[in-house]
Symmetry: C2
Subunit: 658 residues, 2 copies
């Protein structure tokens, strides 16, 4: 172990093992997680060793190989879909595995299909007698599902649906597992019966032969080509020309076309939204917070062994982690990783409770849960993407090498800002909820618990008198609360003013959207700070951990005020002098947390294999590892043909012959 990183571990102010167990939700979970990681990492089929050198074709092959092998592995290990190990498998594989959409295929049938449909398709899918996908997004429509253009026309004579891609923008585009793997997919299409459109409905469509994998008649499908990441996934396109499926292939738990063409709808559609909503929340941990934790681990460990320039003349070169600017880059991201781990945990529990309510046919919490999932998906994915970017740049040139692991973390987390709902659209959904609740609250109507604070918007001043006051969670949480409420109320007021001045409602809304999105973010930021502070408060029994978590909570909160100073100063809630106190307390925290920075990333408990980073390994031997890994690059395997073809004739002055 590099002594520069070994020394960082000797002075930890807390037990790393205890913090890991706390993050996992108990030592037993830690044990199970480690067992899963161990089993997967010691199996060569799951190796990611050559990942950074592989082409899109190779990545896809590897992902399929892993997905198939995973079935075997799970049987061998006795892991089941509902077992405690299951949630750690994706993390252990770092998501580099095929057939994720197969699971969405199954989930959509379970949710939207009748008992008969479930009985028919789920066993086939479970046994992998087919490979499923989920074809919703089209070339021309992603966010706005009502605008989907694929059609499904009911043919009363044959009792079939005829599916078509009427124009190029209607082509299905992006569905994972569909470009090369899937044999079946759930196609979302506009249902037409007797010339009347009944809106978007899901249909099970076979697209490839179960015998030889050739495309079925009327089907055009393939891979959409290279992307910024997800090379392992065969995101696909799909065109349908008069593809007929039997009437039974429309998922019909909530609605049905009867033999005579009568359209019947029953049950609630609300549960569908709830499925989308839960996916949004469940993706946050593995695809957003974990990647940020990895990026922090890599960047902090590297900063502890990278020495560059001198802090004081005559001394040896300093660890870059000792520079204030480097601390100010990395430590707030580290605090954010903890903050967002805690809030996703909170959201998960909230949604589990909500799910139980909904099973009891109580849909009351649905609007609030939808607002939560939309706003937090947007805030957390955007924040964490920026945070990974900061970690990457903070590693200088070496961060830019794929071998650092940071570029692929960045290009992957970036996708989370786009998929499962575009972030701006999501923030505006949360904003709509907030404005509605604010209006209700101001006329004394009851509102959901998370937004009762909107009822009490009033001018005020922060009572802090010196910089230490800003280390009080009451002080900063109240500042966030006040600011979020002010942004919601002032934007709601602008909206009302516009409408009263004669602007049409929809235009007025559009003219407020920049500020509405800002208000929604402020709301989610406030809830995140509040949750962090409350969680730390409850930690009283674990004093060692509580102290460092309190520092991180303070840092996260003060960083947010420092970085968004305008909204706190705007109405005078904070004065300029108080902002100087915030800045002072914020900067003072950096060297304090810096002392525990390496133990704090160690506590995330990533193995070297899971980090797959030449800069982030536990032992801190970064230069040796960069050199060893670079030598394995295919660019070093043989002399490039460019030599014989171009360089040699050039150097031997035979340029004119070229």
């Amino acid at each position: 172990v590099n002594p520069d990183i070994a020394s960082e571990r000797q002075t930890a102010s807390f037990s790393v093992e205890k913090l890991t167990a706390w993050l996992d939700g108990g030592a037993e979970h830690t044990r199970i997680r480690r067992a899963v990681v161990e089993a997967i990492e010691c199996d060569p089929v799951f190796s990611r060793e050559n990942q950074y050198f592989q082409s899109q074709n190779e990545r896809y092959e590897a992902a399929v190989r892993k997905a198939v092998h995973l079935q075997k592995k799970m049987r061998e290990m006795g892991w089941t879909e509902n077992g405690p190990e299951h949630k750690y498998i994706h993390r252990a594989l770092a998501g580099d595995v095929a057939f994720l959409l197969h699971r969405i295929f199954m989930r959509s049938i379970s949710t939207l299909g009748s008992d008969k449909q479930v009985a028919k398709w789920i066993p086939l899918a479970t046994q992998y007698q087919l490979i499923g996908s989920y074809a919703q997004t089209e070339l021309g429509h992603g966010t706005y599902l009502q605008g989907l253009e694929t059609t499904a026309v009911f043919d009363i004579t044959t009792q079939e649906f005829i599916l078509n891609t009427p124009k190029i923008s209607a082509m299905k585009w992006w569905p994972g597992d569909m470009g090369r793997s899937a044999t079946h997919t759930v196609v979302f299409a506009q249902l037409y019966v007797h010339g009347k459109c009944y809106g978007v409905h899901p249909f099970i469509v076979q697209i490839r032969s179960l015998q030889d994998h050739s495309l079925c008649p009327g089907v055009t499908a393939g891979d959409i080509g290279p992307k910024m990441n997800f090379e392992h996934t065969d995101n696909g396109f799909l065109m349908l020309q008069n593809v007929r499926v039997p009437k039974e292939n429309m998922l019909n738990k909530f609605c049905e076309v009867q033999p005579d063409g009568t359209y019947v709808r029953w049950g609630s559609q609300k549960i569908n939204y709830f499925t989308m909503t839960t996916v949004r929340v469940s993706v946050l941990s593995d695809e957003v917070v974990v990647p940020l934790m990895k990026a922090c681990t890599i960047a902090v460990r590297y900063a502890a062994v990278r020495r560059q320039s001198k802090l004081r003349p005559g001394e040896e070169e300093a660890k870059i982690l000792d520079y204030q600017t480097q601390q100010e880059k990395l430590l707030p991201q580290l605090a954010a990783a903890y903050a967002f781990h805690l809030i996703t945990d909170y959201l998960q529990k909230l949604f589990d409770r909500g799910y139980r309510e909904i099973q009891r046919k109580n849909f009351d919490t649905l609007p609030e849960l939808h607002a939560f999932s939309s706003g937090f998906k947007a805030l957390i994915s955007q924040y964490c993407t920026s945070a990974v970017d900061i970690c990457l740049r903070a590693c200088g040139g070496h961060g830019y090498s794929l071998l650092s692991g940071l570029p692929s973390l960045y290009t992957r987390i970036l996708a989370s800002c786009i998929y499962e709902g575009e972030n701006t659209v999501l923030l505006l959904q949360t904003a709509r909820f907030l404005v509605k609740c604010f209006m209700a609250a101001s006329t004394g109507q009851p509102v959901p618990p998370s937004v009762t604070y909107l009822a009490a918007v009033k001018p005020g001043k922060c009572p802090a008198k010196n910089k230490l006051d800003f280390l009080s969670p009451d002080i900063y949480t109240e500042a966030y609360r006040h600011t979020a409420a002010r942004l919601v109320s002032s934007t709601a007021a602008k909206l009302q003013d516009l409408i009263q001045s004669g602007v049409k409602k929809h235009d007025a809304w559009n003219q407020c959207t920049v500020q509405l999105a800002q208000a929604a973010k402020a709301h989610c930021h406030y809830i995140t700070v509040k949750n962090f502070a409350e969680t730390v408060e409850k930690l009283k029994t674990q004093a060692g951990i509580q102290k460092i978590m309190k520092h991180l909570c303070d840092l996260f909160a003060l960083h947010g005020i420092f970085s968004n100073a305008g909204v706190f100063l705007h109405d005078g809630y904070l004065s300029g002098a108080q902002m100087d106190m915030v800045t002072a307390s914020y900067l003072d925290l950096l060297p304090v947390i810096r002392k525990d920075a390496v133990p704090l990333v160690d506590a995330f408990d990533f193995t070297d294999k899971s980090l797959n980073s030449a800069l982030g390994s536990y032992d801190g031997h970064v230069y040796q590892r960069l050199y060893e890994w670079a030598q394995n690059s295919p660019t070093n395997k043989q002399m490039s043909p460019a030599y014989e073809r171009y360089l040699k004739p050039l150097l031997h002055n035979k340029l004119s012959k070229l």
Copy 2:
């Protein structure tokens, strides 16, 4: 042409052709640029058609092929190094060409070599009888050049230098063209004579055989492997073990080791810094501003043809460019592209003047020029990188496809934040200059013209009374000026306070660096706004262009205040009510500029080939092009072997045999 984009062009408030000519610095330049672009794009050797599908090996080969072919092309076309066409070649090739370091090799010999060395090496390099590189950065040292660890020991008996890589961190790492192409390189090493170290000096070292390209004795070299971009460049590593070069190979314009080992230094070293400084400025246009212009072109054109959701019920789906949030994402980036185009133009002229002064042995402007180049390189590269990121995300899912062109623009421009000086380090160099000037100014000493404003720091209030006042360049430029001066003075005061309270000078500096970097950015931001406003003011004769440029200047300035509200509100220079006026004027500008958005990106005059984007083409047929291009992906060329190996056995239920 897609009617949705054709209609955008019919209502331009100005002549696109005139704006293009103005951007180029005159219609004659436009003509020359177009001729160069035309000659290169019609030559199939320079095609970038398959770029997004190529491996690192293929990209490298193509870059070498293009570099070799370029020599031929230049002869054919009569283009010379000093001709007016030369500066457009790199832009036309989109930088995807080898041997760029060969030029730095030549430049360093011209600058640092004696007349004799120039006479020997430059003709060889010009004729490509060798291929040069520039080996400065090491595994362990980038920013801090004094810390380089490669050694060059003078052997008096043989009159040679013995070069060594004493430890792994001393290995040269990153130099372009060195991994596979170069035969020679300029190695920067610590010079030792009689056991005494004289600091870093440059040595010409042959690393590969001119006969068969094999590595020379004592040389270990290769490619550093995959990176986030620059796959076409063979960034390399280099280890030297007792590699001997003759005494004449130390570049000795400014210093020399005499036969007896006496070390002599003469002339000024300052000119060396100036070379680094000019490279930093020259890179901004092609590698930073042009990529942002491309990203804006792609994102704005796409936003004009992408229709999604409805602004008003009952109407057809709206162009996403009509949503306020989309305008607020894209239009400030478009304004920034213009702002930074103008400031880089300004800097280039400033540096040309400075160069003439320096040739007359007048080094007075050097500190100011160095501060300019450092600060602006940092501000512009950081700002434009974020701007490209915003453009990418604003295109939703399709922006994430490599075929959009945006991911490669992003991953490439990101490197500009790291190379040619890490941005934080550069900002702190500018800050050091600013603090020094501020101190001098406050004691009445003369300071360079760009910083005289620091002499007049005083409290004050913005005189604006309503939102229209914020469309006055005097009002907003003064706000930027005030804020920059305040940040410099308050940080200088903090620094003084710390030192007076007994903190050691270097520690005090470190404790102020977060705020110093912020002050340096504010200074450069102020100069950029001021330059934009002054340039628009001078445009009086071209009224059609002046009007839209005035809008863009206003938008750039107000966006900056809106986004950094805290620093303007902090001391009460702007009140909360005035910030509301800024916000109102800022948001009001969006729909105004939106009308000209497509003509404004058309004026950048990129051909479809140079954009290489399925989303950004002139005709707006985005979906057709995405589909056509995707079909060419290697992932669609044949059925993946994964089918026979994994999918077929799985589907045919032979899983147990796997």
